[in-house]
């Protein structure tokens, strides 16, 4: 009886465990690093999760995620500076802007596959960068867009002042958790599996009646919306939208952190974002050439742990003996 109960409870508890862990990390992270850095972690965690919807789930390596991140950052920044809008309105507008830009970029890019697709996303990223660079009277050009305020979050009943660093950290953490829940919901819906089917075998997915192009465009829009939202939070964090937000290096960083964390699991990119931002912000203070160290870690991951940190964890788990695990009857080697 006791055994049966445990077996019944497990699958119900299982999905909650990562969320509890995440909550704990949210609470202890400001003790491990400066509050600003900890805030940045969750912003990039949103971006990495959004990016992994394209890379990990749909199999699309978008090398232009900064296009959407930047679109959101500038949209929110301009609205906050000139219109003094509510912070949540700014976030919504940023998500909308990110989604719209992603709809356009996605629509054009998915007409090509493989390397050509990647280069197209990269090219659109560069174009977006130069547009922002040229339109300096609006965007501040290479100096960035300064003076982004952080007005209070006015919720009728209470008004929450998010100007202090710790308050803003909490604000961003809550938004991150909401985004993570929303994206988890997306990948657990039928859409999530259809996207994986496209990654695995697009022709077969089409033969089942799925309009694979439409699904890819939809993945782009969702990914772009969350990326744009992350961009808005970034501008509000520093009070300025640096032009780096839309620079291709930011796109590359997202690819790195996601690969290092692991594309094959939902939470992998979050681990990658924590590690990347921590390394970038703490080591870089002491050692100018920190990217060398990062490069080394990246090489090690690619050579030995293709699945990123998630795979390290899985291998450790596999090393531990698990009692009560029945061995599968040997069915012989599979013929391929």
């Amino acid at each position: 009886m006791g055994h049966a109960k445990v077996a019944k409870l497990r699958p119900q508890l299982g999905p909650i465990i990562p969320w509890v862990l995440l909550g704990v990390v949210v609470l202890i992270l400001p003790d491990l690093m400066r509050t600003t850095v900890a805030t940045e972690v969750w912003i990039f965690a949103i971006l990495a999760l959004a990016f992994n919807l394209l890379l990990g789930y749909t199999g699309l390596l978008s090398f232009g995620q900064a296009t959407f991140f930047g679109a959101g950052a500038y949209t929110a920044g301009l609205l906050l500076i000139h219109q003094r809008v509510h912070p949540l309105v700014a976030l919504a507008a940023a998500a909308l802007a990110g989604g719209l830009v992603a709809a356009l970029v996605g629509y054009l890019c998915i007409r090509r596959v493989g390397l050509y697709f990647i280069m197209l996303t990269f090219a659109f990223n560069l174009m977006a960068y130069f547009i922002v660079y040229q339109a300096s009277s609006i965007t501040g050009g290479v100096d960035g867009l300064p003076g982004v305020p952080r007005p209070p979050v006015n919720l009728q009943v209470i008004s929450w002042d998010i100007r202090p660093g710790v308050s803003y950290y909490l604000f961003v953490s809550l938004i991150f958790l909401a985004c993570a829940l929303a994206l988890k919901r997306v990948v657990d819906s039928p859409l999530g599996l259809v996207l994986q089917a496209i990654r695995e075998n697009e022709a077969r997915a089409a033969a089942l009646g799925y309009n694979t192009s439409a699904f890819k465009r939809l993945a782009f829009v969702i990914s772009g919306a969350f990326s744009g939202l992350a961009g808005a939070l970034y501008g509000m964090l520093f009070g300025i939208v640096p032009i780096d937000t839309i620079y291709w290096v930011t796109s590359g960083n997202v690819v790195f952190m996601t690969l290092i964390g692991g594309t094959s699991s939902f939470f992998g990119p979050v681990i990658g974002a924590i590690f990347f931002i921590w390394l970038a912000e703490t080591i870089s203070v002491r050692w100018e050439r920190w990217p060398l160290l990062f490069g080394l870690v990246f090489v090690l991951v690619i050579f030995f742990f293709r699945g990123g940190f998630v795979e390290v964890w899985r291998r450790l788990q596999a090393l531990l003996p698990r009692p009560g695990r029945k061995l599968e009857p040997d069915r012989g080697p599979t013929k391929d």
Binding site: S189, E200, R204, L208, G209
Partner: protein, 247 residues
């Protein structure tokens, strides 16, 4: 009324005419087989029907509707389900998920972003269990498709097509590469399916074709050289020549 009809369907690859003016009708409720030597254009003919290849000329009609210019996914939505000659599955998804994708496409054809979590769609799940039980893969539902043996992957290939509950089931050499025992299992399955589905079958194993077919069309160098019930085809001198060559 024929379920499927092709009119002078022609597919040319440069100088090669892979399918040459093939006109054919598939009657509902029948098993219609296409046989022919290697390179006769059978699979190309299949691909032109399902939309993987655009024909050079001619028309494809499904339920009297011209579908020649429809895309692959539009034809699938109309009720054409197929299996592939070379195993064409979702390798890193589970067996269950492989068939789930097909069943979902059938039950919720137009719902692009369906709001419900997957595990709450009971109707789809029931259909998947039904199909997996029928083909005999129920005990491997949670295996990754890539881990299956070749024989089981061939069964999964058919299961995916069945998940669609298609009006026309097109099977492209379902027994390709199977052991004798696995072949027997597949033949049994096809006979079962023949009771409920209209099947268009490409097959090399002549005894299987003779056993299950109502009608057989013979292709040779892209052309239809004979058509008739199994007994008639067996006696047809043109067919014997195509298979044995004239020496």
């Amino acid at each position: 009324m024929a379920l499927l009809r092709t009119e002078n369907l022609t597919v040319r690859f440069g100088a090669l005419t892979a399918v040459d003016r093939v006109s054919l009708e598939v009657q509902p409720g029948t098993v219609h087989s296409i046989i022919g030597p290697n390179g006769a254009g059978k699979t190309t003919f299949f691909n032109a029907i399902t939309g993987e290849i655009r024909p050079t000329s001619g028309r494809v009609l499904f339920l009297d509707r011209d579908i020649t210019n429809l895309t692959v996914y539009q034809r699938a939505q109309l009720g054409i389900g197929r299996s592939f000659q070379r195993t064409n599955i979702f390798p890193n998804l589970t067996v269950f998920e492989n068939v789930w994708l097909a069943s979902f496409a059938r039950i919720h054809p137009s719902s692009l972003p369906h709001p419900m979590p997957r595990h709450q769609l009971a109707e789809v799940k029931d259909r998947v269990c039904e199909v997996l039980t029928e083909v005999g893969l129920a005990d491997r539902a949670n295996h990754r498709a890539a881990e299956l043996s070749h024989g089981d992957q061939r069964l999964l290939e058919v299961a995916i097509a069945l998940g669609l509950s298609p009006k026309l089931l097109m099977l492209d050499e379902p027994t390709a590469g199977l052991s004798p025992e696995e072949t027997r299992r597949m033949i049994w399955l096809i006979k079962e399916l023949a009771k409920r589905y209209t099947i268009l079958l490409i097959e090399h194993k002549i005894h299987l074709v003779m056993e299950v077919s109502n009608l057989i069309s013979v292709m040779h160098f892209g052309q239809l050289i004979a058509q008739g019930p199994p007994e008639e085809i067996q006696r047809n001198p043109a067919v014997q020549e195509a298979y044995l060559g004239r020496r």
